[in-house]
Symmetry: C2
Subunit: 128 residues, 2 copies
């Protein structure tokens, strides 16, 4: 899955703000701009962020396949990116997206639907 683009370099001011982990990646959270649901978290390197900013298609770095991954390129479940934010520390990206189909490879709307909730042992109101 090779990606060829004339715009695959990150603007210098963005590159300067980005704090990458030791293997050059930052976590990127995708949130549905309509429902507000958090859909998934994946990883980006400089090139995938640059492609996301220049193409408007959410593009991640697949750690398992060690290659760029345009979300939905295979499944058709693309993410049209409407806004990209960076956090105060420059080490996390937030994408607001129009999600086509389920964001999760299981078919679920959100990867957190697919995983489900964890049991809390605290009683309601206990922490008020």
């Amino acid at each position: 899955m090779s990606v060829v683009s004339p715009h695959c370099e990150l603007p210098a001011e963005v590159a300067a703000r980005l704090k990458r982990n030791p293997v050059g990646l930052v976590p990127a959270i995708a949130q549905d701009i309509t429902s507000g649901r958090v859909l998934m978290m994946a990883w980006m390197n400089d090139e995938s962020l640059a492609l996301t900013l220049s193409t408007g298609k959410a593009t991640y770095w697949s750690r398992s396949r060690q290659e760029l991954w345009i979300k939905g390129e295979t499944s058709g479940h693309t993410q049209h990116v409407r806004e990209v934010s960076i956090d105060c520390d420059g080490d996390t990206i937030l994408l607001l997206v129009d999600q086509v189909g389920g964001a999760c490879h299981t078919g679920a709307e959100s990867c957190f639907d697919a995983g489900g909730t964890l049991p809390m042992s605290v009683h309601e109101g206990e922490d008020e």
Copy 2:
């Protein structure tokens, strides 16, 4: 900032599902349960997740200080955790929280307000 708790072990079924990074951490996203805004991303080890589940107070692992960090313990800007989800791969946590005060250490509501948006070079509608 030591934390003493009688409930600091992760339930076995949760521990078995969790996929930690090489230093034993998973990213945890905090989302405001009322506004739906993504507030911040931080890291958890097993103990911080166990404490979060048993106390209902969002507790992270500070990578810079190498210690447990109960969100808001110093600032008063606590996160009362209403729901904890895990993603399909077991490598990311999502917290739905009632946030007291700003979630960001800058005072902003969200760390992504503090960081701001990144410029997109794609033209509106270009990716439709």
